[in-house]
């Protein structure tokens, strides 16, 4: 038992090295996309966002909804689901845990 633990402990540096080598290119691709797509909106973009939201509401009211294709509707549904998931992630951060409230 002690020998098995010793062998494991001796292997840990190589494991860490292998993990780093594996994750570096993947992290760099993630960073490459995230730097453009996942950044928060700059203060200049917020009025554009508000205007875009108003356009959206107007298009709802003018009945243009009936003209969206199923493909567009599915895509918009996916985007909306993703925004909802960000809310849940924020809730997990706020309550300090992943599953349940740690009261």
């Amino acid at each position: 038992m002690a020998q098995a633990v010793q062998k494991l402990v001796a292997k840990v540096p190589t494991l860490i090295g292998a993990a780093v080598t594996y994750s570096k290119p993947r992290l760099s691709t993630f960073w490459y996309y995230a730097r453009v797509e996942l950044v928060p909106p700059t203060p200049a973009e917020i009025p554009k966002a508000i205007e875009g939201a108003k356009n959206l509401i107007k298009s709802f009211q003018s009945g243009r909804l009936a003209q969206t294709t199923v493909k567009d509707a599915v895509r918009n549904g996916l985007v909306a689901t993703e925004v909802l998931m960000w809310f849940y992630i924020g809730e997990c951060i706020g309550k300090g845990g992943i599953v349940g409230y740690d009261v």
Binding site: Y32, E37, A53, V83, F87, G90, E91, I93, G94
Partner: protein
């Protein structure tokens, strides 16, 4: 590699504001639930003591009654 897509500002603001609102909501709900859970724990402790006391008395009584001459 596909070049990164320019995300519309509506979606970007929606995402990050959803994140912030979620953080606040989680923190608020946690602060709301915490005293309720403590209260429940206290009441549970008091009831548990009472129940154990009653069980002890019951056991005591049943032991006292169990030495009969009828085996």
């Amino acid at each position: 590699m596909v070049p990164p897509v320019a995300v519309s500002p509506v979606i970007k603001t929606a995402r990050w504001s959803a994140l912030l609102i979620g953080v606040f909501y989680g923190k608020q709900r946690f602060d709301y639930l915490k005293p309720i859970a403590e209260e429940e724990r206290r009441t549970e402790e008091a009831e548990k003591k009472l129940r154990e006391e009653q069980e002890r008395i019951y056991k005591q009584l049943s032991e006292d009654n169990s030495d009969t001459i009828l085996q």
